[in-house]
């Protein structure tokens, strides 16, 4: 197990190092963009809508944006960057010629995606705290959730990548899965306002559970639903990791 963890770490370390090198650009997408959305919508739209689900709109939106950015960071990494490493630069082939297995590569990648989502969450959380939007210590609970979300959405993205023959393929996933999920998961408005059948369906989405888990934590309360939401994320993450390993194994070692 320790040996395996070391192998995963070597892959993780490569990605972390590459990220550090391009951190300035990475931060622009992973940090500045969500904050812009939050501030513009929060202040601009918030003035019209007033309180939502018992809290100021800015507070409501903050948890949605935080969750979405955690999802996006890992999704982007698992689609575009992972595809580049797999199919364009053949970085994974290099790793697989060393004593790493495909499972090691996927685990290293997925753990890095969790880390990347966490880094983004730390930065956004710091700004939220500055605006008084994350006043309680319970807000720190967001960080492990962001890691879990990174693993979850990152491994799902890897499964998608395992089918991809070019970058174009990802447009389908983003347009048909990610965007509707953002609209239905209570990011911008409470899903309670949706028609009953859509609402029930939206409760099957991983992003819904992430938002549900983060919102009370930012508001300063610990609720039992948190465990259920975390379990739902795990229920997506674990099969997705295994599926990604199996699919990529088939693709790369034929």
């Amino acid at each position: 197990m320790l040996e395996a963890a070391k192998r995963w770490r070597s892959v993780w370390r490569r990605n972390a190092w590459a990220w550090r090198k391009g951190a300035r650009t990475a931060l622009l997408g992973g940090f500045v963009e969500p904050l812009l959305t939050l501030l513009v919508l929060g202040f601009g739209l918030g003035g019209y809508v007033g309180r939502v689900a018992g809290m100021p709109y800015l507070d409501f939106l903050a948890s949605g944006i935080l969750a979405t950015s955690a999802m996006n960071a890992a999704t982007f990494e698992g689609l575009y960057l992972a595809y580049t490493r797999m199919a364009v630069l053949k970085t994974w082939d290099g790793m697989l010629a060393a004593p790493l297995s495909l499972a090691d590569v996927v685990m290293g990648e997925v753990l890095w995606m969790g880390t990347k989502s966490t880094i983004g969450a730390v930065l956004i959380l710091a700004v939220l705290a500055g605006f008084g939007l994350a006043a309680s210590w319970t807000a720190l609970g967001v960080l492990p959730l962001a890691f879990l979300a990174g693993v979850c959405f990152g491994s799902i993205a890897l499964v998608v990548t395992s089918f991809a023959r070019s970058y174009d393929f990802f447009v389908y996933y983003i347009t048909l899965c990610i965007t509707p999920m953002v609209l239905l998961s209570g990011v911008f408005f409470p899903s309670a306002g949706l028609p009953a059948i859509v609402r029930v369906a939206s409760e099957c989405l991983p992003l819904f559970h992430l938002v549900e888990a983060i919102r009370p934590l930012l508001a300063g309360s610990l609720e039992p639903g948190l465990l259920r939401n975390a379990a739902a994320l795990l229920a997506f993450a674990v099969p997705a990791v295994f599926l990604a390993i199996w699919r990529l194994q088939r693709r790369l070692t034929q």
């Binding site: 192998r7 391009g22 053949k90 082939d93 060393a98 034929q254």
Partner: protein, 324 residues
């Protein structure tokens, strides 16, 4: 005899040869893609310290053979062991002790030369201390010391290739596997790579490489497997292959009057004659009299030379190694 600094002595701690198992033992190795047999019942062995060249045209199945050898893809059937490890079951343990240079460089372009070596060493679980000790030697071997902090994008094709080889040596392998190490490189750069590989050979490293350059195989390899359509055509030293499989000399004639000249020759002759495209090839022990007969002809060009591996391939397959 050598009073000066000897780079080979200096480099030798890069490799350790411990096991006494044959470097490679393959029996009836086969692999199919979509029902097509691309590797078809290969049996061969590689001894420690040997340099084996797998020579064959594009599509012969060389890359597929190497990919099975390094555990990148499981054999369809047959038995394979590398350094005493059963493949594919023990492929990971085996890969810790070999070095692989792929057909297409897959250096990490986000990083510098030295960072590439450090990251790759990380995949082998090497400590920072071990890397610190090894990297300067590898840079020296690859003549990249001055480029240690250059980005991959700033390197020439030959430098990238040398770095790929250096990277494959980071774990002090007992066996180095290279897939077409000089394809697509300038002739001068090719010589560069050859001298690097020869240095490694002299240090006792076992090498398996593929190539479709006859010259490369002849210069580097003590032993050659001639491969075509997934099968072994011949397996021997280059000298023995040429000695045993083909007449010693070749007269290659082309030009407008080549056909006319050929028809003018007496019908009963000892030499073997082949036609490939525009050229007429005569093979034999002593072709001096034929060469002299050409003096009387205008509009013919000829080359009189010793037979080489390309001629062997041509004889065994009826096709040209370069564009078969």
């Amino acid at each position: 005899m050598r009073a000066s600094f000897n780079p080979l002595r200096f480099l030798s701690p890069l490799f350790v040869t411990v096991s006494t198992a044959p470097a490679v033992a393959a029996r009836h190795l086969s692999k199919s893609f979509e029902g097509k047999r691309v590797v078809d019942g290969l049996s061969f062995g590689v001894r420690q310290g040997e340099c084996l060249g797998i020579l064959g045209p594009n599509g012969a199945g060389k890359t597929t053979t190497l990919r099975m050898l390094v555990g990148a893809t499981p054999p369809g059937s047959g038995e394979l062991s590398v350094l005493g490890f059963r493949i594919p079951e023990q492929a990971r343990a085996m890969r810790a002790r070999i070095g692989v240079v792929p057909q297409q460089d897959n250096l990490d372009i986000d990083f510098t030369v030295i960072e590439n070596l450090r990251i790759y060493g990380g995949y082998f679980g090497l400590t920072e201390a071990a890397l610190k000790a090894r990297i300067p030697r590898l840079l020296e071997l690859a003549v990249l010391t001055d480029k240690a902090n250059a980005r991959i994008g700033q390197l020439s094709g030959g430098m990238k290739r040398r770095l790929s080889i250096a990277r494959a040596l980071i774990n002090q392998p007992e066996l180095l596997v290279l897939d077409e190490p000089t394809t697509g490189l300038d002739p001068q750069v090719r010589h560069n790579i050859w001298s690097m590989l020869r240095q490694l050979q002299n240090d006792g490293l076992t090498i398996v490489l593929t190539t479709h350059y006859m010259e490369e195989a002849e210069r580097l390899c003590g032993r050659i497997i001639l491969m075509d359509r997934g099968r072994i055509l011949a397996d021997s030293s280059p000298q023995a292959l040429i000695r045993e499989s083909i007449e010693p000399h070749v007269l290659e004639v082309h030009g407008a009057n080549a056909e006319a000249w050929c028809r003018s020759l007496p019908a009963e002759r000892d030499e073997r004659c082949e036609r490939i495209g525009e050229s007429i090839f005569h093979y034999g022990g002593d072709l001096e009299s034929l060469v002299r007969s050409l003096d009387a002809w205008e509009g013919v060009h000829y080359v009189y030379r010793r037979a080489n591996l390309e001629d062997v391939f041509l004889k065994l397959t009826g096709r040209d190694l370069r564009d078969a």
